[in-house]
């Protein structure tokens, strides 16, 4: 490895700064009392508290899953804070927002003020656990779109929340989903009414800021008949030494002819070069294509977190419904990623496409784990899966664990997977054209990921390409 490349390899996490503002925290640990306090803090109705308590009691009986290809010291759930919020009252407008907070967002390049308008993005920015500023609410409400913090939805649209919350990811689905159901602090709620095409891309930026605070986001997006929405989620987290737990649940519901596009750029703190610190990201994301000809599309660029455990999935119930999963997962240093998707085909003529690109460098482990299941009812179902892995350096691991199950003879499934290293010839070609080695690698990696990156909305595609380069620089030599 050349000296200049070593310098880049040692590059610090760019977004590693913390914001000193007053935080309000509950005592350490988890108990029924904490669950009650979270619920009370949010002025939740009794049914919501009941739901949380049920989830909490269920969680106590469950065991942490151990099947993923990740290693970490046991998590002590009594040594985490389950609620943290900026101490000041909820601001009414941007002017009321803590200026320190705004500066943080500025450093992260979030278009929260005028830039938001120019970018045409409505931002429901989550700072730790409470949504502190929401813009574009008016424009959205004119078209009938509900876009608000989920805690607000619980109060103002209880009939919708009651109907859909937990209907895609049941409380008992898995250990982390149960935990989230008990203690979720905030997140986004989106409802697109019949026939409405959401007038702008919706986006929420999640930040993890307070020390030792688990983030338990809960997102629920419903697209009614003929509605469509594109939702963006992007993350960067300030640098911290302790491992921080993040266990989010995202539920999507698409009715007849509805379309939901969910895009994620995840760049949480991955820990330092020795594997110290970093976020534990245990996320349950699932979409239900309930209606006929509905479509749910997941696109993710995962470059951050010490550990990623995440399988955005589609349950294709409606006839003719479509599920898509486009993923780039990059791991470097000591990062561990175990990610993939599940496509469950129930309806007739359902289609799913999986494109997964894994890149491992340093001493990291990167696993694709996916399930394609065709049930007997899914006549004419179709799946195409392509999983490619790229290895950079011989101390990392790349793993592919697909499960393919078909119970219908009229279904057609194709699966392809490859693992290789960066082609020396391609590298040589680029360098012979005067590109530096790291630029050449960046270019080749971006080419490798092109099929996924092109699925991202414009604003994200640019950020994602930069992220890939930053995540990998210095890993070649």
């Amino acid at each position: 490895m050349s000296a200049s490349m070593q310098a880049i390899a040692d590059q610090k996490y760019k977004y590693g700064f913390t914001t000193d503002i007053e935080m309000e925290e509950f005592p350490l640990g988890l108990s029924e009392d904490i669950v009650r306090r979270i619920s009370a803090k949010k002025s939740e109705p009794a049914w919501m508290l009941e739901w949380r308590l049920k989830a909490y009691r269920l969680w106590l009986t469950m065991e942490e899953p151990d099947w993923a290809n990740v290693k970490h010291p046991p998590i002590n759930y009594q040594e985490l804070y389950y609620y943290a919020a900026p101490a000041k009252e909820q601001p009414k407008s941007l002017d009321d927002v803590d200026p320190e907070l705004l500066r943080t967002y500025e450093k992260l390049g979030i278009p929260l003020n005028e830039r938001a308008a120019l970018a045409g993005v409505a931002v429901d920015a989550v700072f730790d656990s409470v949504s502190v500023a929401t813009t574009f609410r008016d424009t959205l409400s004119k078209s009938g779109v509900i876009f608000c913090p989920i805690s607000e939805a619980v109060r103002e649209h209880p009939e919708l929340v009651k109907k859909y919350l937990g209907s895609v990811v049941p409380v008992r689905d898995n250990y982390f989903a149960a935990l989230n159901s008990a203690v979720f602090s905030d997140g986004s709620f989106v409802f697109i009414p019949k026939g409405v095409r959401c007038p702008m891309e919706l986006s929420t930026y999640f930040r993890i800021n307070a020390r030792n605070t688990g983030q338990f986001e809960r997102t629920l997006i419903i697209a009614d008949d003929g509605a469509s929405v594109s939702y963006l989620e992007g993350c960067t987290a300030p640098m911290r030494d302790e491992n921080q737990l993040h266990a989010a649940v995202v539920e999507l519901v698409a009715m007849d002819d509805a379309k939901i596009k969910y895009s994620t750029v995840q760049n949480w703190y991955p820990g330092d070069a020795d594997g110290k610190g970093g976020i534990y990201n245990f996320v349950t994301k699932r979409g239900a294509c309930r209606g006929k000809n509905s479509k749910i599309s997941w696109t993710q660029v995962e470059t951050g977190s010490a550990i990623t455990w995440k399988y955005p999935s589609c349950v294709l119930q409606g006839d003719g419904s479509v599920g898509e999963f486009y993923s780039v997962a990059v791991t470097n240093h000591h990062q561990q990623a175990d990610t993939g998707t599940k496509m469950i085909h129930l309806g007739k003529n359902t289609t799913s496409t999986i494109i997964s690109k894994g890149i491992s460098a340093g001493k990291s482990d990167n696993t694709y784990r996916g399930l394609v299941k065709i049930l007997a009812s899914a006549s004419g179902a179709r799946n195409f899966t392509q999983c490619d892995s790229l290895l950079i350096g011989n101390e990392c691991g790349a793993h592919t664990v697909p499960y393919i199950e078909s119970r219908n003879s009229s279904a057609k499934l194709e699966h392809e997977a490859t693992t290789s290293k960066i082609d020396e010839d391609q590298l040589f070609y680029c360098r012979s054209r005067g590109l530096s080695e790291e630029d050449a690698v960046g270019m080749i990696v971006n080419g490798f990921c092109k099929d996924v990156l092109k699925e991202l909305p414009m604003e994200f595609a640019v950020e994602a390409q930069k992220l890939l380069a930053v995540s990998l620089e210095g890993s070649v030599g």
Partner: protein, 365 residues
């Protein structure tokens, strides 16, 4: 006795041995003389799990069974070690081409019984051998053979298996091969018989240029369950491995293929390829595939492909438009579909045996 593996074990998620555990197996009955295949090849015959000197050829490289201890991770191999009473030990000295030998197991009885053959095959440097392993039978029984293979540098073993056991039987075969530098293990299994069967192969490529080809054709019908599971461990640089697994499923049958390629840190320049394809001929057949790559070296080329679908009606139509009747057109296409898996079987007699078995299976459909 070691417990049977449960479905909770990842390696057994698709094959449930509950039906096996429900049966109580009694004493091994006295065997009746079976009809053996007509062949001039030397043969080693086991009847109900017991070596038959009368029916077997005398081979100077064939030794007697010897008890074994087994502390491996495979529960079935441990059960075998506890229960094994017979088996064959084939030792081929350096540089010797021992030709082809038939290894025949025939089982039949009125009441359920079990037998656990333990075979050992060791080839010296540059030695070569072809084993044609045929398993047949009638009635309810559990055949749980383990074959341990060591191939010294440059040795070559062709191992062809026809699993045509009783449709009421359980057949759970474990094969473990240690392959040294430049040695080659060529494997083909045709799975036609048994109510529930599994072939589990662990091939370890321990020296440079060691190769493993693990192929299989599964042809299942009725309520049969067939499982072909492989683990190829690349433990040395420059080793190629190939796998081609074809499944043709009709009735309510269920086919399983689990194939894992493991590449150690030092196994640079590994070239691993795996293809698994399944044809579902009936609306209620099921195929489960789990191809897996576990890779720790960077300068490698590993890939796998998997497809599941019905016979291509366009191809059927093409053949029919050339005047070929529909039934025959389907037969041609199925036969062609299986061909890739069968291709490495070069020994004439073995090839004819498999061709006939496939033909028989198709006709019986």
């Amino acid at each position: 006795m070691t417990a049977l593996p449960s479905k909770k074990l990842e390696a057994w998620r698709y094959t449930d041995l509950a039906p096996l555990s429900e049966i109580s197996f009694g004493a091994v009955p006295v065997a009746v003389a079976p009809v053996l295949p007509e062949s001039d090849l030397p043969r080693l015959v086991f009847l109900n799990g017991v070596f038959s000197e009368v029916l077997s050829s005398r081979l100077d490289f064939a030794g007697a069974f010897d008890a074994v201890a087994d502390a491996s991770a495979q529960p079935l191999a441990r059960i075998n070690a506890e229960q094994a009473r017979d088996g064959v030990t084939l030792t081929i000295p350096d540089g010797i081409d021992a030709g082809t030998v038939l290894l025949i197991s025939h089982a039949s009885g009125d009441a359920p019984f079990a037998f656990h053959l333990r075979h050992r095959v060791a080839l010296g440097q540059g030695a070569s051998l072809t084993i044609v392993d045929i398993a047949k039978g009638d009635g309810v029984y559990w055949h749980n053979p383990v074959t341990d293979i060591t191939l010294a540098a440059g040795a070559k073993l062709n191992h062809y298996r026809l699993q045509d056991e009783s449709r009421e039987a359980f057949s759970l075969a474990t094969i473990r091969a240690h392959i040294e530098a430049g040695a080659a293990y060529e494997h083909f299994t045709a799975t036609i018989g048994a109510r529930l069967s599994r072939t589990e192969i662990h091939a370890s490529l321990a020296g440079e240029q060691a190769t493993a080809h693990l192929n299989a054709a599964q042809m299942l019908t009725g309520e049969q369950h067939g499982d072909f599971t492989t683990v190829i461990a690349h433990k040395a640089p420059n080793c190629p491995s190939r796998q081609t697994v074809k499944s043709v499923l009709s009735g309510l049958s269920r086919g399983v293929f689990q194939g894992r390629i493991e590449v150690d840190r030092i196994a640079q320049k590994t070239d691993g390829y795996q293809m698994s394809q399944a044809l579902l001929l009936s609306p209620h057949a099921e195929m489960d595939i789990k191809p897996e790559l576990r890779i720790y070296a960077d300068d490698v080329k590993c890939s796998h492909g998997a497809t599941i679908g019905a016979l291509d009606e366009d191809q059927v139509f093409y053949l029919r438009s050339r005047g070929i009747p529909e039934a025959e057109a389907r037969s041609i296409l199925v036969r062609a579909f299986l061909d890739d898996a069968l291709a490495p079987v070069q020994q004439e007699e073995a090839k004819a045996l498999f061709e006939a078995a496939i033909e028989n299976w198709w006709v019986s459909q």
